[in-house]
């Protein structure tokens, strides 16, 4: 890696080298039976250079020819992509506990046994198709640049997702367990899935109209995606953010607070620095309904004449860093999940969302198929509804919060509680 920097420097460039390596094993069960075990051992190198205020980028999986990688980056300079920022000098960062050595002892056999155990317990409670995926990953990354930054991170993660499928569909109720190492599924986890599945198994009819809608931690990403897009410095710079000029204004319900929370190393994936070597920090995006901050990487921070917030992350080795909120934390409320359900006279739980990626995302609009749509009447889950859609706009919906669960769960949208909204338009065939 150092040699790459030297070659780039000899050619008159400032440079940054990003190296990542990972080994993962994925065990999957379908219909309570072991289906697949797949592994990946992948590594790669990304090189960014700056010369004459222009930026170049190249990557490879096998660093067999270092000169060629530098030449690819030099070649890409010709396009004239702006590179007005400087690579940072970052050192003396807070040490985070991101790696659990225990993960090295976790065999695929143990993952298989855990999946079997969960299937057996659930099947004693209710008959259904159960699909489970369990994954363990050990990864490392190193980032060095010509300003003297030399950062290293080793991480471990474990994730297990249990899906309980509704008959004749692949709609499922699911929940994820995560950790830095193996974490046995506890009774609460299994009871949440099996009890709520059992209650919602019958197909029932319901009316269309405005009603209460509960987004689970697993489906809240539908709304957070729109917020993330609006709070991105990329949207701000491109003049397509509805939040432009609204820092300090109350935009959402005062119960709603969202933080960038990268330093929480009780969860897997914590980061002290981002993928371009800027220090990560905790800060609010929305606090008690007031919009507080956009998030920035180096490129857009320079464009908008401010500092990076440490949110420059890469989609993979083949991508340059871009502004990204990878560590969302939604502040929990004061109601238990059961209390929230009991408070709903008529409403729908969004168990899964279809089409979250379509619709007018910059505008904050969402229009999703709900699958499964779990129906609540008089405070009790009584079944599931077919062919249901929910639609709205986050600038109205996030102002219509009735209650927030008092506990958060890490899923792909972030570390979130369930949130109950009022007056969401639901269309049911």
């Amino acid at each position: 890696m150092e040699e790459l920097l030297q070659i780039a420097q000899r050619k008159g460039c400032k440079a940054e080298v990003f190296f990542s390596e990972g080994h993962s094993d994925i065990v999957s069960f379908e219909d309570s039976k072991l289906k697949n075990i797949d592994s990946k051992i992948l590594s790669g190198v990304g090189l960014r250079i700056i010369k004459d205020n222009k930026q170049g980028f190249a990557y490879t999986r096998n660093l067999l020819d270092k000169e060629e990688l530098v030449n690819n980056a030099l070649e890409s300079l010709k396009g004239g992509v702006d590179g007005l920022f400087d690579f940072p000098l970052t050192c003396n960062l807070k040490v985070l506990d991101t790696y659990s050595p225990e993960i090295e002892q976790i065999s695929n056999n143990l993952l298989v046994e855990e999946c079997k155990r969960i299937c057996d317990i659930i099947l004693q409670k209710v008959t259904c198709q159960i699909n489970i995926t369990a994954q363990k990953t050990i990864s490392s990354l190193r980032l060095i640049n010509t300003h003297g930054t030399d950062l290293f991170l080793q991480s471990s993660s474990y994730a297990l997702s249990t899906e309980m499928l509704y008959p004749y569909t692949s709609a499922s109720l699911y929940r994820v367990i995560t950790g830095k190492s193996f974490k046995k599924a506890d009774d609460e986890y299994i009871d949440f899935l099996s009890n709520n599945y059992k209650l919602s198994l019958n197909e029932v009819k319901a009316r269309s109209g405005k009603m209460k809608v509960l987004f689970l931690p697993e489906t809240l990403y539908v709304l957070l995606w729109r917020l993330q897009t609006a709070a991105s410095s990329s949207s701000l710079y491109q003049n397509i953010s509805p939040l432009a000029g609204k820092i300090g204004e109350k935009v959402f319900d005062e119960k709603f607070s969202v933080f960038n929370d990268p330093l929480n190393d009780s969860l897997p994936g914590a980061r002290a620095f981002d993928d371009e070597g800027v220090q990560c920090r905790q800060f609010p995006i929305v606090e008690e309904g007031i919009f507080k901050n956009f998030y920035y990487d180096l490129y857009f921070a320079e464009k908008l004449k401010t500092d990076s917030t440490g949110n420059g992350f890469r989609g993979g080795i083949s991508s340059k860093p871009a502004p990204s909120l990878k560590h969302i934390y939604v502040k929990p409320g004061d109601k238990t999940f059961s209390e929230i359900i009991a408070s709903i006279d008529e409403g729908i739980i969004v168990g899964g969302a279809l089409g979250a990626h379509s619709g007018n995302i910059p505008n904050g609009d969402f229009s999703i198929g709900i699958s499964p749509a779990i129906y609540i009447k008089d405070g009790i889950i009584i079944g599931n509804v077919k062919d249901a859609m929910a639609a709205g706009n986050i600038y109205e919906t996030l102002n219509n919060i009735i209650a927030i669960e008092n506990k958060t769960y890490l899923s792909h949208g972030g570390n979130c509680p369930s949130i109950l909204f009022n007056d969401i338009n639901v269309i049911i065939k």
């Binding site: 219909d31 797949d38 056999n109």
Partner: protein
């Protein structure tokens, strides 16, 4: 290369093993508004080994040649673990063994075009929407993916095939007051660079539609009779029906297998659906899948009756059905899974005018804006549409998402047009991305669809 791959496989103790090595060369150019934010060409490579041992099938992806022994050992251990824990051993359906070196015909090989020329062309197209005052930004890309695949199996298969995909496309965004609207634009395919030339009118037309969207009405949620255009019909077929034709998605779902039996009457009698990656010139063209099986056309639905499905060697054996050659990987980071290649609704007999007349009152929806399916339920967006009154187009509508249930919807298709079109750019994200996922169809009239709206 085959010699090195043979060396790796020679160490296996499994009954069957295969290895795929891929060199991937990608050229990407991206504009955000007037700003060029990315340009460059890069190469990467890697391996995927699959082993079938004692009835357990496992795979591993790795990027360093030096990791080959460790990878093979890991895959074999995992296969044994699978075998111990499975009641039913995995079998592979028999296939003929091929040795071949296949390069597709290209009308202008993009490797012979300089990056400066690609950049100039993209800049020219990008400037078309940006010349309109209300267009606030664009995200327009050039994407060129060149995959050189080397496949070798212990059965003796030895296949090299190149897949070359070029596309130009992206998103154009306009704003009026606080209303933001965007529209997708795309051009491309598998036939070389020339398909990207002289596409100015595509960018002009899409921009005009976008500006009209700023004045369009928001769709009102409800149940409508809907006429969908060719692009939407293709996405509809892919999302609402096609995924169920992929045998791996229903293999371990007893209730889905019960419903998706060959011979089941699932659609109206006028509905015929086929997957045919062998049609030359369309985006999804290929010769061999990533198990070394030659791909063949499959009639999935004939006159509303389920008549076939897409298979890997594993599922073909499990279902006791013929192999089809549809087991495909995104690239060297993935083991292959069953994918549609080029799925489409076959030609019907109605003209567009006749279909408007049949619709009477309802919605005319055009062009896909993403779709997703979960079992029998699907959702997809339309870029724009019109309210139809008495068979005539009236007001334009925006922000449209459609949702439905597979079984009900296939039975609610009441007319099929005589104007089949295939898409030029695709993309299906079933665990892995398939940029060559092609779909198509003529105009299709569907009764009683749920349309989401505010």
């Amino acid at each position: 290369m085959f010699y090195r791959l043979k060396q790796i496989l020679s160490r296996t103790t499994a009954r069957y093993a295969d290895i795929r090595y891929e060199k991937l060369k990608e050229t990407r150019i991206i504009f955000n508004g007037k700003e060029l934010i990315h340009v460059g060409t890069n190469s990467s490579d890697g391996f995927v080994i699959r082993v079938l041992k004692n009835g357990g099938l496992s795979s591993i992806a790795f990027t360093k040649f030096d990791d080959a022994n460790k990878a093979l050992k890991t895959a074999e251990q995992n296969a044994c673990l699978l075998s111990i824990n499975s009641k039913k051993p995995v079998e592979f359906a028999k296939t003929e063994i091929y040795k071949d070196n296949f390069s597709p015909f290209l009308n202008e090989d993009p490797r012979n075009i300089t990056i400066d020329e690609k950049l100039d062309l993209l800049r020219k197209y990008n400037n078309i929407p940006l010349s309109y005052e209300k267009v606030v930004t664009t995200n327009i890309y050039y994407n060129e993916v060149i995959r050189e695949k080397f496949f070798l199996s212990t059965e003796g298969a030895e296949i090299k095939e190149d897949l070359i995909t070029t596309s130009i496309g992206g998103l154009i965004t306009a704003k009026e007051g606080s209303l933001i609207q965007n529209i997708r634009v795309s051009a491309g395919g598998s036939t070389g660079f020339s398909i990207l030339r002289n596409r100015e009118s595509e960018f002009e037309n899409r921009t005009k539609i976008l500006l009209e969207l700023l004045k369009a009405e928001q769709a009102k949620g409800g149940i409508y009779n809907v006429l969908i255009n060719q692009d939407l019909a293709g996405v509809f077929t892919h999302e609402a029906f096609g995924h169920f034709s992929e045998a791996d998605l229903i293999e371990d779902s007893p209730s889905m297998r019960e419903k998706m039996q060959i011979g089941a009457m699932l659609g109206t009698e006028i509905l015929n659906i086929k997957d045919d990656p062998t049609i030359p010139g369309q985006l999804g063209f290929y010769k061999y899948d990533d198990e070394g099986v030659p791909v063949r056309p499959v009639n999935l639905m004939k006159n509303g009756v389920l008549s076939g499905r897409l298979h890997s060697r594993r599922t073909a054996a499990a279902f006791h059905e013929d192999i089809t050659g549809h087991c495909v990987a995104e690239d060297y980071r993935f083991s292959p899974i069953i994918r549609m290649g080029n799925i489409f609704v076959e030609l019907g007999d109605k003209t567009l005018d006749e279909m408007f007349d049949s619709l009477g009152n309802g919605l005319y929806l055009l062009d896909a804006k993403g779709g997703q399916t979960s079992g029998e339920n699907f959702t997809f967006g339309a870029q724009y549409g019109y309210i139809i009154k008495d068979g005539k187009k009236t007001k334009m509508i925006r922000d449209i998402n459609i949702s439905g249930n597979l079984y009900n919807t296939l039975k609610n298709i009441s007319a099929i047009g005589n104007d089949l079109v295939f898409c030029e750019t695709g993309g299906c994200g079933k665990g892995q991305l398939n940029i060559r996922s092609c779909h198509g169809g003529p105009h299709v009239l569907i009764k009683d669809l749920v349309v989401g709206g505010i």
